[in-house]
Symmetry: C2
Subunit: 639 residues, 2 copies
Amino acid sequence: MAQHTVKFDIAEEPIQVPTGTLVTEAAAQSSVEINQPCGGQGRCGRCAVKVTDGDVRRRSTLRLSTEDVAKGYALACQSVIESDSEIIVPPQEKIERRLTTDRTAAEVVVPEGYDPQQSQTIRRLHLNLMPPSMDDQTDDWSRLQTAARKQAGVTDLKTSLEMLRKIGGVVREGEWKVTAVLNAKTWDCPDCPAELLDIYPGHIPAATPLWGVAIDIGTTTVSLWLTDLLSGQVRAQVAEYNQQISRGEDVISRIIFASKDGGDEKMRGMVMGTINELLERACKRAKAKPGEIIKATISGNSTMMHLLLGIPASSIRLTPFVTVVNHIPSMFAQDMGLDIHPRGIVDCLPGVASYVGADISAGVLASGMDYSQEVILFMDVGTNGEIVLGSSDWLVTCACSAGPAFEGAGVLHGMRATKGAIEEVWINDETYDPSSRVIGGVKPRGLCGSGLISLLAEMFLTGVVDKRGSINTKLASPRVREGDHGSEYVIAWANETKHGEDIVITNVDVDNLLRAKAAIYAGFKVLAESVGVPLETVDQVLIGGSFGKYINVEKAVEIGLLPDVDWDRFQFLGNTSVRGAYLALIDHNLRRRISEIAARMTYIELSADNTFYDAFMSALFLPHTDMNLFPSVAAAMEK
Amino acid sequence: MAQHTVKFDIAEEPIQVPTGTLVTEAAAQSSVEINQPCGGQGRCGRCAVKVTDGDVRRRSTLRLSTEDVAKGYALACQSVIESDSEIIVPPQEKIERRLTTDRTAAEVVVPEGYDPQQSQTIRRLHLNLMPPSMDDQTDDWSRLQTAARKQAGVTDLKTSLEMLRKIGGVVREGEWKVTAVLNAKTWDCPDCPAELLDIYPGHIPAATPLWGVAIDIGTTTVSLWLTDLLSGQVRAQVAEYNQQISRGEDVISRIIFASKDGGDEKMRGMVMGTINELLERACKRAKAKPGEIIKATISGNSTMMHLLLGIPASSIRLTPFVTVVNHIPSMFAQDMGLDIHPRGIVDCLPGVASYVGADISAGVLASGMDYSQEVILFMDVGTNGEIVLGSSDWLVTCACSAGPAFEGAGVLHGMRATKGAIEEVWINDETYDPSSRVIGGVKPRGLCGSGLISLLAEMFLTGVVDKRGSINTKLASPRVREGDHGSEYVIAWANETKHGEDIVITNVDVDNLLRAKAAIYAGFKVLAESVGVPLETVDQVLIGGSFGKYINVEKAVEIGLLPDVDWDRFQFLGNTSVRGAYLALIDHNLRRRISEIAARMTYIELSADNTFYDAFMSALFLPHTDMNLFPSVAAAMEK
């Protein structure tokens, strides 16, 4: 049998192995440790290595994209040596990142050719005023207006009382040389005059950043990008849990809390507290001051937007489910209590309906689907699940009341995706023993959303649950047992966990997860059917939102949460809401596009739709009643 | 000698008198008391009677207009009986009023054909919104905008966060019938959208007033007219001293006080206090609430406007004397602290220069001179003296630093025109004893502006002072003596006064008054010469301002304060500043005209003008160096 020389980058010496040796075996001979969380079943993708010289035969490329394979990636447990090879074993951390975060557009690239003169509404001008004399007793403000007109082409300039109180001192301190910061236009009044926001003595150096901030208020997480409006560059990205979580996990419970006496002010205070803390943190990182931030663009779902602004949200919750306002007027920071420059322009992005908010309008912009020739399915699965289907020609949208099951709520050992959460599970199909990956590499405390999807898929594929989601109590494993909440499966024994108690999943949990995934899939179906586009013909599936960031698409398809289309058609976009807010912050043409998107989207109210109920009932199975919709899952089950 | 029957209306019986009997003598025979403050010299006009049957021969008609004579008025001390006559003796009070207030336009007449639909920017609309349903989930705010567009033709409507917080509740409480109050346009942004200012459930009855307020902030007095914007009617007129008086009589001392630490906030607080007190008083009278007032138009000189808004005013006082702002942007009441509706529109009228403020722009509007075919001289002598000369074709203006002498400041026994102030004086040309009229009919405490003018004129005409203003110490009267401040003339002995001290006028006082009147007259001259219009050819002299209200024109001409033109050409307009503010309040076309007036007026800075100095020096005489300029005074002196 032919022998081949194999050299692992982290091994001391090359070794000789016969043709057909598994890469994992060769690694073991080289004393190179390759992590195999799924036990070498080729399902987890965590043993990916990169072949830089020679080649290997890949029995399976599950979890690898076509591009990955083209770059030389192979699953060590599913690939055999057939030539002399050099193999790189990426650090585990890097693999994890590549499989999750790397697939999201984590880096912010300033749009090509960004020109603040063309795109930015905020302008910083160096003006030289004519000093007054006995022959020219024009007032200071007219003098400033004239300089702005003659030196910067600003034909019409207005200002506030605060500025009028200030300019007399500033123009004299600067000896009639000043730096003026103004807002050239607002989205809701294109014909309104430009507004002087602040003025400083002398000429501020051109390289000094002009700060703006893009904010996404998620039900769970608030994200903030501190941006230099002159270069378009993001200088600090920070995120934190929305303090409102302490008053309810989902929007409905928050609305109920806010409706109670004083609850609205408490809710408002909590999210403002979160934002102001993030502002401090981002500013510290970028060596800025919150008071220097002159523009904020805010995205978020309709409830979050109402609660942020102190607008009563109760009509969102009650039939016929209407918001008070979708297109919120541009306002000043001091009007709404944001701790940036008091005259900072605050632009809350427009939503479409009670359950399709600004986060989705912004997400569509960030995805680019409104300009796409292809048919795109965009989903944002955060605490709520919103879906948009469309292209440059049309856009339809709906909201699935999926509930927060995938955020860990309504599940006995569910938790949010923090340290100690099991985020991926593999079950051995002979022993029914699981192995898992825990965030932070510590003892587990519970299961987060991606962990639940992973677990449900593994339970289904290994027969721990049947297609109805019932736990198979006849299974020859001590892990299946009767508990306080009916049948359950033990993922971790008490001695393996942080809190010293078994971590289990119950039949009730599985039912909740089934209902959540069925609601989302039914949303896809209704949307697709409403425009006569078969789901399987969708050209791209774009996944945004914090949940989407960590989702394991293959497993999500296996449980019937996502439609069964080619892996290559899926793309993770990360937090599209904050990205859309960022784009609107730096470019007023993109800001206008968000308004157009919000106006263009046709909203389909699922609760008024009988076809939704039928689609939902059909989706209450693993993966679905109609297996023709999930050919890859059917194939995997046969195998 | 022919006998005639004379019947006085207030006499018991008619009497018989021979031809040539003075009316005052006939009155004495009838036991009818006719007041003769000037001692029957025909100078004070206080003995005017009305001849209703028969006629009298008038030796003099001084102080009577041609119209008065046509109506039958005659001076009792200067008219003789020549036929049977019936004579009405008007109550003294009525005479006083006719000679002062009656010549001012005290009644406010709503402009003919006033139509709030055409003229008023504030609109109150009854709107019926389409209720939402599962088939129409449009947000509340869009629903309101649609109703405003379809039912009232409001194509573009914006609003504030406060309103967005309120509308959800209001539309539901009113079961989708609401009353919306909106501002259709502002002077400084004609292309801006209309703004929703407030919204109420149900339909407010159309007859309910919609309140607005016109305010004039005088250096001495603040005046306020509470107005129903729907009918244009003024429902309450109130006035009160500006509390700032306690920190200085004139604008210069107020600016100095405001420049000191915290002084600006104190000044602002004091005038706000005055206004808010007046608002309370006016509202009580009209059964309104300050919070219901939705629009305020404010007039006042440039210093008053800066101090009201908390804008540093120090540049007004320092060369080259510029304001921070002349054309103040429209703002909301909550932005500047006025205690009306928080979203009430506050419109501070535009000024021209540091010493020609909004009060003058408003005054010109109220005078109508900017549309006049005739050449008009308009003056507003309050605490400051501003003059405008012009017609529909051109307008020139200047400010005379007359100082507050005519308000009683800088004069030993000067005081403001309140109870106890001597407001008119007559001196007997044989005894040099004065008689006088005191405001409130009490013992005198001092002399107010009109009293000082009157006194100076009498002293000059009777030779108590010479044309240089020096008191004739050789006069055979104990009233002329040397005092602590040089030569002085005693107007009232200690036993006749309130405070038990002599009331005197000193040579220093006279000098101060001469300088004040010379500054004003020099202003007239410079203005007239700047446009080549001889003063004597001016078609009308319009006098506005609180001082003008009580001025005795004839005496003012005698001392050379006013130009010597026919009595009929003078007209008192009262407080033209508040009247102009009222007109701007009710009619946005008139508001626009004020901006045009302010832009059109050519300001002439007197302190930079040598011709002013020459004119001033020539005017430091009684009435003037050039007696050709004062032919009527020359004639009176000859007599």
